[in-house]
Subunit: 150 residues, 2 copies
């Protein structure tokens, strides 16, 4: 009878609980700007993936297309994104982040990084090492979520 559970037995319930906690932490941290979660998520997507069509954004955020149209109209008015014609399809519109929009994304990421640096700073070196060792696997999980292999 081992005193601790097998270290290579990943308990999915524990993983779920931890990730739920981080989700709530991340959602509530950045209420700095007057931007909704969906809006911030769109800015984040544009920052990470470059210009995208309205329809692609709507699919990714799981809101309706009119919702994205309205959001982009407001973001454009506020100078955070711009609409570009899609050279390959004259029906379509590409939405691109402006410098100001990118600055917001970066500032928010910096906030989160600062908070996480605080938290990890309070851990032991061994704990930090354990997290560092798990990062590639966690990254592959979110990659698998994004691009499922069949």
């Amino acid at each position: 009878m081992p005193p601790t559970p097998q270290p290579d037995e990943l308990n999915v319930a524990d993983l779920t609980a931890v990730l739920e906690d981080f989700t709530r932490m991340f959602i509530r941290l950045p209420a700095v700007q007057r931007l909704s979660f969906t809006t911030l998520s769109v800015l984040h997507t544009l920052a990470g993936r470059g210009p995208k069509r309205l329809t692609e954004l709507a699919a990714g955020e799981q809101v309706t297309q009119p919702a994205i149209t309205q959001m982009v109209t407001k973001l454009e008015r506020d100078g955070l994104v711009e609409r570009l014609p899609d050279p390959s399809d004259r029906r379509a519109v590409l939405v691109r982040l402006t410098e100001a929009g990118a600055a917001i994304v970066h500032a928010r990421r910096a906030d989160r990084m600062a908070h996480l640096a605080d938290l990890t700073g309070a851990l032991t070196p061994a704990e930090r090492a354990a997290i560092a060792a798990a990062l590639p696997a966690l990254a592959r999980m979110s990659e698998l979520h994004e691009h499922p292999r069949r």
Copy 2:
């Protein structure tokens, strides 16, 4: 010159990026019920921490007290929570999850666990072991977030 970075050097930017991805994954996964994120978060809080006052809920969710009052009124109408008098303070109201409310929380957690089990099932045993080894440290981080030591 090591071929890989020091394994015990935790890159906060990478950690931030991974957790951002999981946040977005978790937010968007469970649009099953017709409940807002804040509502779901309240149900989750009540499931994890037991009955709470309206004011405590409002502080925890970072919305205003009237917003919680209205949300609880609807949740009560739908049978997911109930209002109880606080024996220690006749101004106050305790909000408690009903069985139906708890069932929703559990169903949503089961959904997330199933999804994560899918994802981790596609990892190598070594990757799963790395995540398992990091879980206590991650749990301690969210604990530190919740209850900062000064």
